[in-house]
């Protein structure tokens, strides 16, 4: 039987170990940028909180036991004393303190723990999306340290769990559970680091996500326990379950208990003792060997590597690259860590943009206008101005620099051609290529005219840029082939609200259209004027021809008629003349207005108003123009 003091000491040691290992794990995780390491640290931190509350509760229970012993001693010594006949609550302060602690503090702490763990779950889940990459080069140191942490936690946790089981010290159980789980999580972190060394750095992140899910499940379990505690029937003498103790943590911290639980479940299901069969006993005996063989197979499997169709890979033997590049297919190599394979997506077309910082939201827009920025950030490139001579005559203080500004989004597409150069000449070959390409674009644009490059010179410029970027990439041994350089998105800058440059360019296009419109309008008028003139000329000629024909016809008619008229005249000259005169007068005076003065009195003065009266019959030939038609014409 271990004394209360020793058990408390054990609890205190566990607390110190949890603090020490938690801080160590946190610092190591920071050193490695290991997400799984951070999660392990957080679990250990929660273990410390739970262990601290358990330790406090343990002390309260120890005080209560001491108080009870004192009370029993006094009872024996003064059995007849009236003082102890009816013991009330005031007589047992330690017991009352423990009860108050269990009734008030424990549920409150459990609720706070649930909230805290919930917040951590949310924070870590979102933070993992932006987690820094694992520092693989430090992985070996990290593995050693986490191994040490795992060992410490395992030994202390195992010891505490043993005491808790043997001595029925339930208050040692929560802390021990967290310590054992901490040991397991340190082991998982080591596995993540080892995977990183083998070329799978994402395993660390995946392990961290699994740990976050585990913490989430713990939150749910504790919350359910907390709620159900309120509805649990209270029985006198029943040991109260620790609200903040997670069964899930206990189970995961001691995997062998999982096997025992599974064996019990099988026994119950099949109705006989499956756990006593030879096969089960063999499995139990050989389990460690089986795991070891599995690990061996896993290690041997690192001798085989599959390269995907879009990939090439470089193989390094003890850090030294082999000349042969691994092409797509199956390859055999020495096991990790002797041979390590580094994969590169050499056949995938890769692209970056020069001159802009892309924006995911703006990229979704389907219409790209010069007057509206369509990237997060657009660089104003300096381009030469043909008006340089005129402007450079100004004094320097004028600062009217002889340049124009141009916005360009230039996609540069490339593939990796020499994977060894790409991998070993530059720390970040993609970034270096972007620097070099941007430099070439800047260098090219400072010597071209804005109007030239935006019009006829665009294709030539794109080809020239592709050539230059390829040359500089080759000169710097980047091992890439430039596939395409596009100048399709090159335009004047948007400008400011007061100086909308792109809009001014659009107005020029508008003016060009207007100019063409005016010319076409004039041409339309010309097309009308000339044919009309030709028509008028034709009419005039036609009338002249008519006149000519009329004259000739009249002449011929007179030629035929006049001899006969002469004959008639000669027959009776006076009568013929009168008849002809009167006939003519009768015909001629049919229409004209006539005033006949029948009076003979010549002394009268007669006034005639010969002013033209409006003749409404004239208006019958006049048509009123249609207003609607007039408007349409306008």
């Amino acid at each position: 039987m271990i004394s209360d003091r020793n058990i408390q000491k054990n609890g205190l040691v566990n607390l110190a170990a949890l603090v020490g290992v938690g801080v160590g794990a946190g610092l190591t995780a920071r050193y490695l940028d290991s997400a799984a390491g951070y999660l392990s640290m957080l679990f250990i931190g929660f273990g410390f909180l739970v262990g601290a509350v358990s330790y406090f509760q343990m002390r309260l229970e120890a005080r209560e036991r001491a108080e009870k012993m004192e009370y029993d001693e006094l009872l024996r010594a003064k059995s007849a004393s009236a003082l102890f006949d009816s013991p009330d609550a005031e007589s047992f302060p330690a017991q009352r303190a423990r009860q108050q602690f269990e009734r008030v503090f424990v549920p409150l702490f459990t609720a706070v723990l649930v909230i805290l763990q919930g917040v951590v779950v949310y924070w870590q889940w979102t933070a993992l999306a932006k987690a820094n990459p694992l520092k693989i080069e430090r992985a070996t140191v990290g593995m050693a340290l986490f191994g040490l942490f795992a060992l410490v936690l395992f030994l202390l946790g195992k010891y505490a769990a043993g005491i808790a089981r043997i001595e029925k010290q339930r208050l040692l159980r929560p802390g021990a559970g967290y310590m054992l789980l901490g040991a397991v999580l340190c082991g998982v972190t080591i596995a993540g680091l080892a995977a990183g060394l083998m070329g799978y750095p994402k395993v660390d992140l995946i392990a961290a996500r699994v740990m976050v899910v585990l913490l989430g499940l713990t939150v749910i379990e504790t919350l359910v326990t907390l709620i159900f505690e309120g509805y649990r029937p209270r029985m006198k003498g029943q040991v109260v379950r620790l609200l903040y103790e997670s069964r899930l943590i206990g189970l995961l911290g001691a995997p062998e208990s999982l096997i025992t639980t599974a064996a019990h479940a099988l026994d119950y299901q099949f109705g006989f003792k499956v756990s006593e069969t030879w096969f089960y006993r063999f499995l139990e005996r050989a389990f460690a060997w089986i795991v070891l063989v599995q690990l061996g197979i896993l290690w041997i499997s690192t001798m085989v590597v599959f390269i995907e169709p879009h990939e090439q890979a470089v193989i390094e033997r003890l850090g030294s690259p082999k000349d042969k590049v691994l092409e797509p297919g199956l390859h055999v190599k020495l096991p990790w860590p002797v041979d390590v394979v580094y994969r590169f997506q050499t056949r995938n077309l890769q692209q970056f943009l020069v001159g802009v910082v892309p924006d995911e939201n703006l990229e979704k827009e389907k219409v790209l206008l010069w007057t509206k920025a369509h990237y997060k950030e657009e660089i104003n490139f300096l381009v030469a101005s043909r008006q340089r001579e005129a402007i450079t005559n100004q004094t320097p203080s004028d600062q009217a620099v002889p340049v124009n500004l141009l916005t360009a989004s230039i996609p540069v597409q490339y593939t990796i051609q020499n994977v060894l150069d790409w991998a070993y000449k530059h720390e970040n070959a993609a970034e270096m290529l972007k620097h070099l390409a941007t430099r070439e674009v800047v260098n090219y644009l400072v010597s071209v005219d804005i109007d030239e490059i935006m019009a006829a010179g665009r294709d030539a410029a794109a080809k020239e840029l592709q050539k230059r970027i390829q040359q500089t990439a080759d000169a710097n041994q980047l091992g890439v082939r430039i596939v395409f350089v596009g100048l399709q998105d090159i335009h004047p800058p948007v400008g400011t609200s007061d100086n909308a440059v792109a809009e001014a360019y659009e107005q020029v296009n508008g003016a060009l259209q207007q100019r063409e419109g005016r010319i076409l309008s004039a041409q339309k008028e010309a097309e009308e004027i000339v044919p009309r003139a030709r028509a008028a000329a034709a009419d005039r000629l036609s009338r002249a021809e008519s006149y000519k024909l009329m004259k000739i016809s009249d002449g011929l008619a007179a030629q035929g008629r006049f001899p006969n008229q002469v004959l008639a005249y000669e027959a009776s000259p006076e009568v013929y003349k009168q008849r002809t005169y009167l006939d003519t007068l009768a015909r001629a005076l049919q229409k004209p207005r006539k005033y006949l003065l029948a009076t003979t009195n010549t002394s009268h003065v007669i006034n005639f108003n010969l002013e033209d009266q409006v003749r409404f019959d004239l208006l019958s030939d006049v048509s009123v123009p249609d207003e609607d038609k007039d408007k349409k014409k306008k």
Binding site: G319, S385, G495, Q514, E545, K551, Q565, A588
Partner: protein, 303 residues
């Protein structure tokens, strides 16, 4: 007892791994390593491979990047030789040439190295740009440009110091971006806008000019066509009259009658449209009305 071989095997494996971790290290092709013994420099390892070492704290291994690293300086304002203000960004490619010096100068921290490089490059950049005209950096005539020369001069200025003092070899240096301060950018925008406005006016005037020319040409053609037609019509009419005159001879048979008939014809033609005649009763045939008028007067007075 059954577990002894397993425990032994696992223990041996763990011990081997632990010993390997303590006594060996690997240098990759991409790395260069410096080994120190009790804090004192021992050796640099520049070729990849497997190496032995004493465990910490006796020996310590520092590993650095062996490949060319890129570094980009801030977008900085500076002044050219002809007092023009520009903004410039310079990028550089550098690699560790002397690992020992790199470790001593910067504690092996690349960020500290880049901070020192930035100051070095800024100094070179401002001094080189200050020696050149703006036209050396931006010119419509490629022959006038000294872009490459400016970059080379900058590289020469920093290369030696970086090599000797920092243990760094600057392999390349280039101008990544050129720009103008905001106030000048606004002025350039203003000028570009005015340039466009000039073109707008030009195109509008050109349109007006072309339209006027086209209209004038059309009117000229119309006039030409009408004038020709007029002349031609006069000729035709003359021809008609000439032809008609041939028939005039017939009138010689009785000239008096002919004149009389022509007068009558003229009279008839002239009275065709909107004529008003004031006639007295003496004109034939209205003189016939005189008797009627007298009789009417008599009959009225008789009554």
């Amino acid at each position: 007892m059954n577990r002894n071989p397993l425990t032994l095997f696992t223990g041996v494996v763990l011990v081997i791994i632990f010993v390997l971790l303590l006594f060996t290290f690997q240098v990759r092709q991409t790395e260069v390593a410096v080994v120190t013994t009790f804090g004192r420099y021992s050796k640099s390892i520049t070729s990849p491979g497997f190496n032995l070492k004493w465990p910490w704290p006796i020996q310590r291994v520092y590993k650095f990047e062996n490949r060319t690293q890129s570094f980009e300086k801030k977008f900085e304002q500076t002044q050219t030789g002809d007092s023009r203000i520009i903004l410039i960004t310079v990028y550089a490619g550098w690699k560790i040439s002397d690992p020992q010096k790199f470790l001593i100068r910067f504690d092996g921290d690349p960020l500290r190295a880049e901070q020192s490089l930035e100051n070095l490059i800024r100094n070179a950049q401002n001094s080189v740009i200050g020696r050149h005209q703006f036209g050396d950096l931006v010119s419509p005539n490629p022959a006038d440009l000294k872009f490459d020369q400016v970059e080379k001069e900058m590289l020469v200025e920093v290369k030696d110091t970086a090599n000797k003092e920092y243990g760094i070899d600057i392999t390349l240096l280039g101008i990544k971006q050129l720009g103008l301060p905001e106030s000048i950018t606004t002025k350039v925008f203003e000028r570009m806008k005015e340039e466009r406005a000039r073109l707008v006016t030009k195109f509008n005037s050109e349109g007006e000019e072309q339209a006027t020319i086209i209209r004038a040409e059309a009117n000229r053609k119309r006039q030409e066509i009408l004038s020709k037609a007029e002349a031609e019509s006069l000729v035709i009419m003359g021809q008609g009259e000439a032809e008609a005159s041939k028939s005039m001879r017939v009138f010689e048979q009785n000239r008096e009658l002919a004149v009389f008939l022509l007068q009558l014809n003229a009279l008839e033609q002239s009275l065709k449209e909107r004529a008003t005649l004031i006639l007295d009763a003496q004109s034939a045939p209205f003189n016939m009305l005189n008797g009627v008028s007298a009789e009417n007067t008599k009959s009225k007075s008789g009554q």
